[in-house]
């Protein structure tokens, strides 16, 4: 096929896709999540995970953490577009590889199976701060906290042991050390 020809902005050179984590501080008001999410869907950006909750009840501030992928140009646009939204106070953007930032995701895992399988499950979860929230003779609900990809792996690994349902929070992030993002 001939070289793609267009008078329009079709990316012929596709840049490398990076995974970034955006942390967005917003006024906790009606519709604010729709504004942020609508920005992503309207401009064709991708959301891998989303976590949101109020973090400051007196100032009415919510913190939204979004994991997304895009070319450096797209990542730049996401940040600038987010900053334009009226209820957005500040936007932080971290590369997933960034060593100065802690990323964590929590998951609840329900495993249904015999004693042996449950034991195997608990052993497999060992390095991810497992907390047993509920246990019966045939089942267990475990809470683990880990990186996204670790939880991905665990979901696969636990399938043969009787993993029946998984509930995940989406990644949240915080910088290491005494520094606070302004």
């Amino acid at each position: 096929m001939a070289k793609p020809k267009s008078a329009y902005s079709i990316p012929t050179k596709k840049g490398k896709l990076d995974t970034h984590i955006f942390v967005v501080w917003v006024d906790n008001e009606a519709g604010v999540l729709a504004r942020v999410v609508g920005l992503f869907s309207g401009r064709g950006y991708n959301i891998e995970s989303l976590a949101v909750a109020e973090v400051d009840a007196t100032k009415n501030i919510s913190r939204i953490t979004i994991v997304t992928t895009g070319t450096p140009q797209v990542i730049d646009q996401i940040k600038l577009q987010l900053k334009k939204l009226v209820p957005v106070h500040k936007v932080a953007d971290f590369k997933r590889e960034d060593k100065k930032v802690i990323f964590k995701e929590m998951a609840l895992l329900k495993v249904v199976g015999n004693k042996k399988k449950i034991e195997k499950t608990l052993k497999a979860c060992k390095s991810f701060n497992p907390v047993i929230l509920d246990k019966t003779k045939k089942s267990v609900v475990i809470q683990i906290t880990a990186l996204r990809r670790e939880i991905d792996k665990m979901s696969k690994k636990l399938k043969p042991f009787g993993l029946t349902s998984t509930s995940r929070t989406g990644a949240i992030a915080m910088t290491r050390g005494a520094e606070v993002f302004r």
Binding site: A7, Y8, K83, K84, V86
Partner: protein, 588 residues
């Protein structure tokens, strides 16, 4: 305890404190309390349109020509959805609008009540911000904030949705606060280092070009003055986007015409071959850039814009200056003056060869066309209209299509705010209501909508508005019986399969004019054109001018899809075949 006001009263108190003179609107059930209050506020005049889209475009015309925000008042449900096109149009072209919409009472929201719709949900992507007022105590604060958001930074439309019970509820009124620093959404903190870098690039350039846009108009008349001074000081050639026309005089020798898809040969070639590109208040729109990969390949690029998200969005630039155009230019001019007194190096000598090249391109006369003494050529009609109205301070609006491009090419603008056109969204039906708004803002000026017969029929009902308020707008219809731009693309891309682009049953525009109670004029002969244009201009009242033009004329020059700036088609004189690839076709 101060006096308590109803929501409807608060709306008007806010409008008064924001110095609003005109509202463009249409009543309905959910805004009746506000309409009821109208009679108590003599400083605010309501203009009753015939369709809410017309209200939005009229407010856009008002805003674009006056520099003040346009105010729209509509009811819930269909009132709000009808205004969506105009809001989107204003969003794309950065026009400040404040739209107030009625909503069903708070307790009925979410119940699919009569004339209910999720107005804030629907308008979220086409406004800078919107608000649903759920508590009467928030109303005055929200309305003042709405004006602030609409008019500051990169301007744009906002919407405030007010449920009917809130319009009846009572509370205190708060005046707008005189705040100076605003929430970090305004970006005007460029540094002197950036200005120094700009001056450095300017003094090293051998083939520079300035590309200015609508941001100069939005920055106010002072920005246009600064731009003129900047261009004179540097001696650089300047081209303009569709929205930027008028910021720099169109008949000045340093102006090399509009650029982009239907821009001049000299402007597009200068963009392609330059070594320094200074973008002032424009956004590298796809109608401007042509093929991105081959856009201005040899140049250093500077981008001056108030919106940080415009920087590097489409084209990566070497120097970005985020700030108000006027401030940045003033700062740059100061620096240049200082420098030129110190050293004698003048750019003007360095770039003399570049100007010679530009003169060569100019000799192509890319806006040329083959005139006829039998049929009126649309380009000729626009040229005659220009010649016969250029001595008046004329305001031009347009619809969207071929006529719009011919107007941009052949009507020369010497002042900002005289040119109102739908560039970003490309809304057919924009021009007539926009002319209504322009005439409201400038009652004694000549306002002409250069229209196409297909576009103008989309909002033709607003003639009734023009008649009601004695607005002497002139609707100059270049009638070629086709959706001309659609027909042109079909000719070039789809083997002349003119699928649905011919209007079989057009109205008799003269009779239509008479039916609305205004004057109709028809011209079908080049000989009579001047006399008839004069008749139109001299008539004290609204006119629909049916200018019957050659139906087969195409708009040239043009950059065909899939081609960069330096591969333009040059009209009937250009024999070279310029084939458009199959891939290019898909991307129109």
């Amino acid at each position: 305890m101060s006096k308590l006001y109803t929501g409807a009263e608060i709306v008007f108190k806010c409008l008064e404190d924001q110095d609003v003179e005109f509202i463009f609107g249409y009543p309905g059930g959910a805004v009746l309390p506000i309409y009821d209050e109208l009679k108590n506020h003599s400083s605010i005049k309501h203009i009753l349109v015939r369709h809410e889209q017309g209200a939005g475009h009229a407010a856009e015309g008002y805003a674009r020509s006056s520099g003040k925000p346009g105010i729209v008042l509509v009811t819930s449900g269909p009132g709000a959805t009808n205004v969506v096109t105009a809001l989107t149009d204003a969003y794309m072209d950065s026009i400040p609008l404040v739209c107030i919409s009625g909503q069903v009472p708070t307790h009925l929201i979410g119940t699919d009540a009569f004339q209910e719709c999720d107005t804030t949900g629907i308008t979220r992507p086409c406004t800078k911000h919107n608000w649903l007022v759920k508590d009467i105590k928030d109303l005055s604060k929200i309305l003042h904030e709405a004006f602030r958001v609409a008019t500051t930074g990169r301007p744009g439309p906002v919407l405030v949705d007010i449920p009917k019970d809130i319009q009846f509820a009572k509370t205190n009124y708060f005046k707008p606060k005189n705040e100076k620093k605003i929430n970090g959404k305004i970006h005007n903190k460029f540094s002197q280092d950036e200005i120094n870098d700009l001056i450095g690039l300017i003094s090293n350039a051998k083939k520079p070009v300035i590309y200015s846009g609508g941001g100069v108009i939005n920055s106010g008349p002072k920005a246009s003055e600064a731009l003129r001074e900047f261009v004179r000081l540097t001696g650089f050639p300047i081209t303009s986007t569709l929205q930027g026309l008028g910021a720099f005089p169109g008949d000045d020798n340093q102006f090399i015409g509009m650029l982009g898809m239907h821009g001049t040969y000299e402007a597009n070639n200068a963009m392609h071959d330059c070594d320094l590109l200074i973008n002032i208040g424009a956004r590298f729109d796809d109608r401007i850039t042509g093929k991105i990969d081959e856009f201005s390949p040899k140049s250093k690029k500077v981008h001056i814009d108030i919106d940080p998200s415009s920087i590097n969005k489409i084209i990566k630039v070497d120097l970005a200056i985020v700030g108000d155009v006027n401030e940045v230019l003033k700062s740059a001019i100061k620096k240049i003056n200082k420098k030129q007194n110190g050293s004698k190096i003048s750019n003007k000598q360095k770039i003399s060869k570049w100007w010679e090249q530009i003169q060569k391109w100019r000799t192509k006369n890319s806006l040329g066309y083959i005139n006829s003494n039998k049929t009126i050529k649309p380009q000729y009609a626009v040229q005659r209209l220009y010649e016969l109205t250029k001595n008046k301070d004329t305001f031009i609006t347009t619809e969207v299509g071929q006529h719009q491009m011919w107007a941009a090419q052949h009507y020369k603008f010497n002042k900002p705010n005289r040119w109102m056109t739908s560039g970003g969204l490309g809304t057919m039906g924009y021009g007539l209501p926009a002319a209504v708004g322009v005439q409201i803002a400038h009652p004694d000026k000549l306002v002409i909508d250069i229209a196409g017969e297909a576009s103008v029929l989309m909002t033709m009902q607003e003639m009734s508005t023009a008649v009601q308020y004695n607005l002497p707008i002139k609707i100059f219809v270049l009638n070629n019986q086709y959706m001309g731009m659609v027909r042109q693309w079909q000719e070039l891309l789809h083997e002349k399969n003119y699928s649905e682009s011919y209007s079989e049953a057009l109205p008799d525009f003269v009779k239509l004019a008479e039916a609305y109670g205004c004057k109709g004029i028809k011209a079908d002969n080049p000989e009579d054109l001047d006399i008839k244009i004069k008749e139109m201009v001299d008539y004290n009242g609204p006119v629909i001018f049916d200018c019957q033009v050659d139906p087969n004329e195409n708009c040239f020059p043009m950059i065909p899809s899939g081609k960069p700036h330096n591969q333009m088609i040059l009209g009937p004189n250009d024999k070279k075949e310029n084939k458009i690839s199959a891939k290019g076709k898909a991307l129109v």
